[in-house]
Every structure is written in structure tokens, then in C-alpha cells.
Symmetry: C2
Subunit: 281 residues, 2 copies
């Protein structure tokens, strides 16, 4: 695997590559969720480029930028083993040089769900992804469904801005106990981790209510999820939302072809998210 730190060197390397290129942007501290994205890209493309860049612009005031987990040696081992062709590993000044001023916003969609408690987060995400796509010009770019709002916002951006790269999404990867994989799970104590299971369990219960009990009222579904979660004392709900996959607007009724049920909650001060999706993103 070639490791490249400078945009100029990456472009020159890419110009010598033949065939399709898949791109997987990450913030490192890779887990099996990332590996699923990377394996999908390797399967579908002649070349796979992975970036690791902890993007300061997508962290808000008081968030965990300074303590975001990192283990570069392990990440490089994983990428080598998977068979990645190029790791792009820029430093902050390479991405945001002195005097940097340009930001992309996907309006409305960035104000709901996680956007409410993370102002500016999705502007940071959209901006870094646009920059990386412009640098790499991949045929396909891969995102996980765990960050469903991010995925929907980035698809909207790529369509709105007439970008020729195509977004591919990959299912949520869960541990055996059901917890959705996240680099931030490493912050949790064993007890916190156990409490966190209620999030995925409540989503499974919602799925049961919808698929088996034919409940379509979004309010009833949300109340059932909240009741389950609030039974566990140390989980603080940020939001439980039921929205359209198309535009992230609130739904009153479950639409089996276009619904996102998304949860964000704090456990031991750690913000975790999870979701289930009805329909295709």
C-alpha cells in the first residue's frame, strides 16, 4: 500500500492509475464497519483509496476533537491486510491551508436530527468530502448507513453540485450483542456498553412493531422506543426521530419505502447514534 501525505503527490499517483477507483473517507481508528466499506470498494473497483483525516471542521465546540481515538499503526496494518492500494494521510495544513475560507452547506437537512445538537457539523462533513472527491475524482465513494443523515446529506450534495462520483452505501455493522460499531464505543466502560445496547434493542422492537404489528403511527413508534430507553437509567436521549429518507422531513406515518428511524443518545457522556432504514437510500 502506498501512503501519500501531499495532494500533489496523490494526484500524480492517481494520474498513473488505470481502471475504476473507489474511495473510502475515514477518520481512522478503523473497525469492522470501515472494513465492510473497504471490502465493498475493493470488490467493485480496480483501485481503492482510503483517507484518514480527523477533520476538525466537523467537530463542534466542546466535542471530542482533542481526544478522538487514534491508532495509526493498527490502521495501516488493517488497510494493508485488506489490500487497499493507497492511503491518503494529509495533515491539517494540507487540507485547510492558512487563509482557508470555503464551506459547503446542504440547507434544511443539516438543521435536523444530529444537526440540532451539532451546529456546523454537516457543513464540516460536506466540505471535507467535497474536497476529497475533487482531489481523488473517484468513480464511487463509500459511506456507511450508520451515519444515515450524513449519507443522505452527501448524496444530496453530490447530486445538487453535479459531481460525477457516485455514492454507494453499506449496511450498519454490529457487534454480536447488537451494538452498532463506532470508533466512539471505545470511550465506554463495560457497564456503559451494556446500557448502550438498549439503543439497538429499541430499534429492533420498533422494527417488530412495524413489520409484525403493522403499526404505522410514527408517534406510537417513537413513544415505544422512548419508553424502552428510559427504563435504563443512565441513557440520556438526544433525539428519537422518524423522517423521510428523501428530505429528512418528519413523518407522521411510517412509509415502508422511505423511512429513517434515528436515535442519538448520551451514555457516560459519549454520544452514540443508531438507526433502522425502511427503503433504499
Amino acid at each position: 500500500m502506498k501512503i501519500v501525505k501531499k495532494i500533489k503527490d496523490l494526484r500524480s499517483h492517481i494520474s498513473g492509475m488505470e481502471g475504476n477507483t473507489g474511495f473510502v473517507p475515514t477518520m481512522g481508528y478503523l473497525h469492522d464497519g470501515h472494513s465492510d466499506l473497504i471490502r465493498t470498494s475493493i470488490r467493485d473497483n480496480d483501485n481503492t483509496i482510503v483517507s484518514i483525516f480527523v477533520n476538525p471542521e466537523q467537530f463542534c465546540e466542546g466535542e471530542d476533537l482533542d481526544r478522538y481515538p487514534m491508532d495509526m499503526e493498527r490502521d495501516i496494518d488493517i488497510l494493508n491486510t485488506l489490500g487497499v492500494n493507497v492511503l491518503f494521510l494529509p495533515d491539517k495544513m494540507e487540507i485547510y491551508p492558512s487563509g482557508y475560507k470555503t464551506f459547503v452547506t446542504v440547507r434544511e437537512m443539516d438543521e435536523v436530527l444530529c444537526g440540532r445538537s451539532r451546529p456546523g457539523h454537516f457543513t464540516g462533513v460536506a466540505t471535507i468530502v467535497l474536497k476529497l472527491i475533487n482531489i481523488i475524482e473517484p468513480h464511487y465513494v463509500y459511506f456507511g448507513k450508520k451515519d444515515a443523515q450524513q449519507l443522505i446529506i452527501l448524496k444530496q450534495m453530490i447530486s445538487d453540485l453535479n459531481i460525477s462520483s457516485e455514492v454507494k452505501s453499506v449496511d450498519i455493522r454490529r457487534d454480536l450483542d447488537g451494538l452498532a460499531l463506532s470508533s466512539r464505543n471505545s470511550y465506554l466502560s463495560e457497564k456503559g456498553r451494556k446500557s448502550a445496547l438498549v439503543i439497538s434493542e429499541s430499534l429492533k422492537y420498533a422494527e417488530y412493531l412495524i413489520n409484525e404489528k403493522r403499526i404505522t403511527d410514527a408517534g406510537i413508534i417513537k413513544k415505544n422506543i422512548a419508553d424502552l430507553i428510559l427504563k435504563i437509567g443512565d441513557v440520556e436521549i438526544d433525539y428519537i426521530e422518524i423522517v423521510s429518507l428523501r428530505n429528512l422531513e418528519d413523518l407522521d406515518k411510517i412509509n415502508l419505502n422511505s423511512t429513517l428511524i434515528a436515535i442519538a443518545a448520551y451514555i457516560e457522556g459519549v454520544r452514540l447514534i443508531d438507526n433502522i432504514i425502511f427503503g433504499e437510500i
Copy 2:
């Protein structure tokens, strides 16, 4: 000249083109300033694509979107005569389809000079130019120096977002009497047009004070410009600013390698801009 209205058709036409492509985005009602841009592109590239799209997103509340001058037959004649290869002539829904949400902002730079009296204008400009560049993927994109702030903002955007197209700028085209060409000049009465000459004359006087009288104090230059303009009763100054070419920040002293002296003024309700530039943009 091929006239294309749909993005899909334009992309398919471009994919069959060979050699370098130059792109000149316009809002139509072409004058000799546009022709200079187009001739430069034709001279320097194998293919030249011109777009005509009156971009609603760059007009503010109360501006002249609904009465912006248009003469498509004449424009097409001009483009044919110049030897343009492709005219891209999209309608509004092709550029901003229903549910459109994504906008690009070049922060700080868009709040000064014209940004102050035209909130949102440069977000509209940056967004349409980014979209058109993504659709056309030109090697070079051409802008006039009359819209100096626009030119500097777009260069910043293209650099910040790692876009591989390169900006080329072309000098201001003036009528024999010195008035900078603008589609909006057509709004002026003969009397208004005469009053408007004070703008370019005051800039010439500023140039004389700087080059011949070696005056470097920006305050003195601004005062001399204002005194000249205010002698003409029916010209209302919006701003007279002296800023750095690099970041559009105010300058106290003229820097002969990086200074923009920019004026905006209203004559008969028509907003006109003009400038002189010391250094290279």
C-alpha cells in the same frame, strides 16, 4: 455552434470532444467585455463552451432579476461569429431542480465591498460557478476583472475546494469615453450615462495620484475619489474601498503589488461597479 439545454446532453457532447476546453460563464446580453473573454478562451483552447444562465440565486431581494436585459437572438449571433463551439443554455429547473439545497460560501470575502449591500450574492455566484465547472470540467474558466471581488472569491473557492480547473482573468473592457462595459449600462438614460463617467474618471485620477504623485495613504486616495464623485449630484456612492487582492481586507497603504481600488455607485437607481488593480490577480 451546438446549443445544448440539458446537462446530460452537454456531458455526452463533451465526452466526445478532444483537447483543452475553455469555459466562459455568462448571464447573456453579451457585450465586448464578454467577447474579450470568449476570444481569449478561443485563442488558448481547442474548444470553448459559453453558458448563458440568469442565475436567480445571485440576485437579492429587490434587485433586477425580473427585468435583467436579454436578447438571445443577438447573443447567439455574437457567439456564432466569434466561433464558440458549444452554448449551454439550461433552464432554471435544470440547474436548481425541485428540492435543491446545496450552497457554497467563501466566508469573510463575501461580506465586504459588494457583499455588504448584496447579502447572499456571492454564495449564489460561487454555487452556480461550482456547478457549471463540475458539469463542464473545463481546463480554464474565464472571468473579467470588472467583477474583481467575484474573480478573487472564485479563485479562492477553486483553490480551497481543490478544483482542477484554472481561473484566467481578462482586463476590463471600456467604451471610448471610459465607462466600463456592463449589461446594466443599458438601463441608463443618456444623461445618466454621462454622470456615470465620473466613476472611471475618479479611478483614473486615483491612479495618477498613486503612480505620479506617489501618494500611498489609502484614506487620502479614497477622499480624493469621493470628492470627485460627489461633485456630480446624481451619483450616490455605495462604497469606495481600497483592499488587498489576496484576501479583500482593508489596506491603510497602497501596495503596488496587491491592491484593489473598487467603487460601487447608484445612478438613476442603477448599481454600477468599477475598479483599478495594482498587481496580479
